[in-house]
Symmetry: C2
Subunit: 365 residues, 2 copies
């Protein structure tokens, strides 16, 4: 750890994005004596409620970005769709971790999948698509069902379309493109046994660590629960951790990298997608690990020693989506439940409003 | 739990006082989806750095207090020397927990000791003193050494004077009173084996719980470390918990009550002092308990069910006072250490700048 990379306690962490991931990072930063200054277009964001300073401005507002850069000692992010120009601009003034180079890969499914495959790491079979003709040719190669996904700006199932045997490819394309130019990928069907993820932390000096492989269950394309540990063979879990670590290393990420993967019925591990930030599947670490993913992010971007990532117990994390948050009285009263609410005023379907981690629980028990 | 007493998540907790106790309460409140609005005379306080709103004003500024009351759903405090008039005023507008009645007892050593003794609970032998003549008569009764303590506004050994065999009583009195009228107590010498404390939480519906008895070691009148559990016989620990619970009940406190006690060499438990707020000797609960004292305070004042208080492991909490905070790099790197820093910019002798909890550690190991 060289002097140049160390951002000591008392410094200010700049956070791009004002959602719950930023909020929980700011809470972890505060514990270690850091101030957080959030930059987000959203007024009264979940993150701003717990920050020393907040700038409410668009990520395209260069004057606001320069002023923000001058007021912080390091910049990190909780939203990977920050425009690359914003990160390039910030990096001229202040250490920006992760940097624009990492996001250039992870914000675009085409670049991301190509990058992963170049490392010799498997993904679902896929083709880039820039037109209906590309989609038709891709499903010719990959078969149906397949999934058409916008290359950029998708999350929680937004910007995706399932291509069934009887789907109209042109309709699917136009639904996604809304008449504009569109970069997309077509992914072949994967008959997977389960979805898993691994979160890796990496520091400026190259030191790194991985949290154990966890299992994720989605409902309506949104993470419903994370089961810790993943119910897979230890050798496959180790393979997933190795894959995630290799990708983090190849990307040279400073901060966190979450790697979502499919485990197929025949035991293959295929990478699904990457996120260079705290990840919903790591929320269990808040209550079950000595160092949460949020504290680990602060440690990594500030050049502090990384903390322990071992798993002392089983756990199940459930998201509270939309009106599920109304379960809070029951969850508040359950001794083995650790409830986290995000301070969002409005309950909307599909909106993540909180989560609960059941400590010591094995899924199904 | 009646509707009238429940302050649901999404509400705003008003915090009187901006120090580290308020800061850690605000962090716990945020986890449960509450906003915190701090009221403190101190600009850029440790608490304000993590709050949604901050009012910087004196506790005697009635207009500011009324405006504050209108912006919050419940008021609590982290500093027991808030003027009673401020609490009375606030309580006209918003639930104020604990209330002025509790503070009227705990902010004055004469009232506090008399209250405790009326419950049939022992303290060190003591006499009230309003003049040098009272002090002379008290040491006549109690013997020397004895301790002269100002009745109000003392903390961390401030406002105290040791009366040795050769001490000049008039000089001690004048040192403390600085020529003004003074209410004080003289406490007889207690040959104690150790100091312990118990923190009790109590809700509007009267439900309550106590954290286990812990042992406190002071250096230069400031808490240096807390050893969990206290190294005393289980029957004595149970007696301390019973005493603390009886006092909390008799006071009718809503929120937390910390009770500091001496355990004498012959196994008596004598109450030393009370604090109706989070307490330095409860910081270990942040890392070792399912529900920390800070979360418990939020639960109690918001009328939520109280959380578990059992102790899953041994622990030792060490305060980082003055330049001890410079140990942070070593503490950040120790896997069993949980470091908390308070965001105070200036290192001063005797100032509490952070603490570290050693999880699983037995004192001396």
């Amino acid at each position: 750890m060289t002097e140049a990379t160390l951002i000591p306690p008392g410094s200010t962490v700049g956070m791009l994005g004002g959602g719950q991931l930023g909020r929980m990072t700011a809470l972890a930063a505060a514990r270690l004596g850091y101030r957080t200054h959030v930059f987000t277009p959203e007024p009264d964001s979940p993150c701003a409620q717990v920050c020393a300073e907040a700038t409410v401005a668009e990520f395209t507002d260069h004057a606001a970005l320069i002023q923000f850069a001058a007021s912080v000692d390091v910049v990190t992010l909780e939203w990977e769709n920050v425009p690359p120009e914003a990160l390039v601009l910030l990096a001229e003034h202040v250490p920006t971790r992760p940097g624009a180079g990492v996001l250039a890969v992870t914000r675009d499914r085409i670049h991301e999948k190509a990058f992963i495959n170049r490392l010799g790491i498997k993904t679902a079979p896929w083709r880039p698509a820039h037109s209906v003709a590309d989609v038709a040719s891709a499903v010719q190669d990959l078969g149906r069902p397949a999934v058409l996904k916008a290359a950029r700006l998708g999350y929680d199932g937004k910007g995706q379309s399932l291509l069934r045997a009887d789907s109209d490819l042109a309709a699917a394309w136009h639904h996604l493109s809304e008449g504009h130019a569109l970069d997309a990928v077509v992914e072949g069907f994967v008959d997977y046994a389960c979805e898993v993820s691994v979160i890796v932390a990496r520091s400026p000096d190259g030191s790194r660590c991985a949290y154990p492989t966890v299992e994720n269950q989605h409902e309506h394309h949104i993470l419903a629960r994370t089961i810790v540990p993943a119910r897979i063979a230890p050798a496959i879990a180790a393979q997933a951790e190795d894959i995630a670590t290799r990708i983090a290393e190849a990307l040279g990420v400073i901060g966190l990298l979450a790697v979502e993967m499919f485990v197929t019925r025949d035991g293959q591990v295929l990478v699904n997608e990457l996120a260079p930030r705290p990840h919903n599947s790591g929320h269990w670490t808040l209550d079950a690990c000595a160092t949460s993913q949020f504290e680990q992010l602060v440690r990594a971007v500030c050049g502090l020693p990384l903390g322990p990532t071992d798993r002392p117990c089983n756990a199940v994390m459930e998201n509270l989506i939309g009106d599920q948050v109304e379960r809070w009285p029951e969850l508040m009263a359950a001794p083995e439940a650790r409830l986290h609410l995000y301070g969002k005023r409005e309950i909307r379907p599909g909106r993540k409003l909180g989560h609960v981690t059941w400590i010591g629980r094995t899924f199904g028990s």
